[in-house]
Symmetry: C2
Amino acid sequence: MTEKPPREGKRPTIADVARAAGVAPAIVSRALSPDRRPVSLEKKERVLKAAAELGYHQNPLARGLATKSIDLVAVIINYLSDLSDLDLFDPLLDAIQSLGKQAILIRVGKTKRIDDFLRNSLTYHVHAALVFSDFADAGEVRDLFHSDNVLMLNGRFDAESAHIHIDEERGINELIHHARGRGVDSAALVTGRASSLVEEARIKAYRSACAAAGVRLLIEIGGDYSYESGTKAALTIAGQLPDAVFCTSDSMAMGVKDSLGRGGRHAPNDYLLYGFDAVDKGNFAAYDISSVGFDRSALIAGILAYLKAPGEFPPAGLEIPTRFMARSTG
Amino acid sequence: MTEKPPREGKRPTIADVARAAGVAPAIVSRALSPDRRPVSLEKKERVLKAAAELGYHQNPLARGLATKSIDLVAVIINYLSDLSDLDLFDPLLDAIQSLGKQAILIRVGKTKRIDDFLRNSLTYHVHAALVFSDFADAGEVRDLFHSDNVLMLNGRFDAESAHIHIDEERGINELIHHARGRGVDSAALVTGRASSLVEEARIKAYRSACAAAGVRLLIEIGGDYSYESGTKAALTIAGQLPDAVFCTSDSMAMGVKDSLGRGGRHAPNDYLLYGFDAVDKGNFAAYDISSVGFDRSALIAGILAYLKAPGEFPPAGLEIPTRFMARSTG
DNA sequence: CTGTTAGCGCTTTCAC
DNA sequence: GTGAAAGCGCTAACAG
């Protein structure tokens, strides 16, 4: 595919195509637009032919400047670190690209001054922002993006903001119910970073479900979702092993399993073990941990619907149910 | 932080700041530039003050159009699916952002017509492209990007292209040597997609290292790097269990371990098991698999150096050695 | 050092 | 349906 721009070293512009096709630049713009715009069929064909011959490709910067829009979707996350991230972001990237858009992945980490590195960046002008990170609430995020197309997926939404909410309560209730049914009387809860609203709600759901079912929560141990923090938490738990250990992430449950296993305590014989996330990619035989999960393709579909027509997204947000998934540890 | 643009509903432009500060637009541009550009200290201060008061933020689209450059780095990958991806891309994102740039993640998948969805996109205009995917060779990639700043990390480099090469041969030689030292005489090799140049080289390295060390390669089984493909491969291997099983990814080794384990065959007693990648995030106790790895921070540092000064990158490319890492399975 | 001018490449009025 | 012209917001080049 050898292409020779008319001017050496420079890429052909719309003006070059116009000259080659013998029409005005505006006609080229219309002919090449995906929308149906008024152009005679004959000229349109001439333009298309000329564009192909010259190897013309639109400059998205110039178009963006003129239209104040850009086919970029910002995906804002805390970290890319968990197995469940793989399950989610790989299909998400695919979905975004299937729309002809591209994803710019913003890893917030523990940055405090997020706006410093957002304000002057392209991110500021994206078509839409998908906020998984809990770094900011809906109002702050709206202020941070030029676009109003902000989809909150971090639980920090308000009346104005589009959002998708994972109904974790339902799955957690099922889980506790299941544990109770297997005779669980006492339990330990291993949690993630409490600074997250989602995590906070998750913890509360465990507490109230336990209370309602009559499961005594002997201890709560703070982790950070990671495998390592699970192994550490288990050290504390081992002292007084409860009937069950609930973890707010699968990775932590894996850590708990290995750590307690080293002390000869094995699930489900010596205790019941429950994780959270129900990762697919990480559903290894050695860690077949009962968990709470949801239909990721439903989430992706919801996001896709939002990206396609943000205006038509249900104002009340979208709700995605979770379900308890029994595996071998509980 | 309430900001009121001079014109209702519109964001302040450089012209607004110039007016407020009583200087010319060009002065504002210079004053706000991160580079040291000729501006009197006094005016610079006036500009900075006015900009702050107006809540001015640069429009990167306009700057990009004028300068033909943009602070965006394209990261081109096949999939985001493996544990080793987490180990690599999380710190990589962090590194890119530490440079004030942002990463646009292109997931090629099995797309054939990659250029269709690249040509008209912003990707075309990025500051640099980091090519992990093996979708194209150096020449094609150069043709695909406006920028000449393409760093090949997929093994498909040529004399002209900047590249970082992971010297896998070294680690593989060490691994085979180690296996041989433990009495391994026969082995099976479980491979990934052979379409990848890196994988092809990896397979060859195993073959020649085995030949050199006197290890008979009884069988080669094609997988796709995934855990599932490892479990499948093990079904074939189980028929005639060799002394060792070499896998070109840790995930496949995990699958092999579980699958053979179900048949009562356990490493390292019944056979030796070796993976490849030496993932950290996925170094779970249940899968403490001997593997080949490299210093990921060295790779990140190399990429960072390239992004900072592509012109000063060693023309011969950068070489990163791998090492065998003995764990409990071999 | 400063300010004016001329674009970057595209889309969008708005007359014709 | 068509095309001239006016920007989008910014920076580079050039005189002053």
